[in-house]
């Protein structure tokens, strides 16, 4: 399971790099689907991952305003700021056990086991990255490769 998180973080980093060659106007341009812009979609991925990891740890949710992340530098800073905590949790030897029940504040009292939450986070990020790849093609620019098979992970 950690392989798929590592894959996601690597692809995410390559998208940050990709964004650095795109104008800020394009990164904030309203598009159809996803979270509406490239930067909002990236910030959303980061926010969702962190919120669920904090919920697993029994910590309070940290709400952010996606519109505050209107430059790629701000999005990268958000990712960097949260990443240590996320990685710290996923590197715990206990993390793959996955049977503890978690009740996130924003899910109306529903409970989920850790394994399900981690699978949700993996799928969530890959799905949104697929959306970015269409927007990139619509911009006429090659997207970051999503292929896992030949990556050094």
């Amino acid at each position: 399971m950690l392989t798929l998180f590592t894959y996601n973080w690597q692809v995410r980093k390559e998208w940050f790099q990709w964004c650095r060659s795109i104008s800020n106007e394009e990164l904030n341009r309203q598009r159809t689907g996803g979270m509406g812009t490239i930067l909002r979609t990236l910030a959303h991925i980061i926010d969702v991952e962190y919120s669920w990891i904090r919920a697993i740890q029994g910590k309070a949710d940290v709400e952010i305003n996606l519109d505050s992340y209107y430059t790629i530098e701000k999005v990268e800073e958000l990712s960097r700021c949260y990443h240590g905590d996320v990685l710290g949790y996923l590197n715990l030897p206990s993390f793959e056990e996955g049977n503890d029940m978690v009740e996130p504040a924003w899910m109306g009292g529903r409970q989920y086991n850790v394994d399900r939450i981690l699978n949700h986070l993996i799928a969530h990020e890959i799905h949104h990255i697929g959306q970015l790849s269409i927007w990139a093609r619509e911009l006429g620019i090659e997207p970051v490769s999503a292929s896992l098979i030949d990556r050094v992970l």
Copy 2:
């Protein structure tokens, strides 16, 4: 790992259902990114999954022409036709061991372990489904939900 395959197959089935409410012309309309049309992208997901599973099993690749799957019925039939073999393999008690090396005919002599291939297949399908979700929104139609968290898997 089987959870993410089950998730993908469930989402795929819901996309088949979604496609049944869309005209064949729209399903075959040329779009930007992915495999160029909704039906070609779905057929590609199915084809890639089957090709890799056959490679793991040491079986010869079965090449298909994506353009032959020009109705949702044909795409569904392809998925159904392959699914028994794929599921049969993934339900083997040995499948999670994952350290055998596989040399697919189409990868220029490179070798991969089973675990990497299975992760590749999971990410591959989710990524392309993310692309379909943008095309759905561009059509003005709500896509299939990609959320894993509340699914009965």
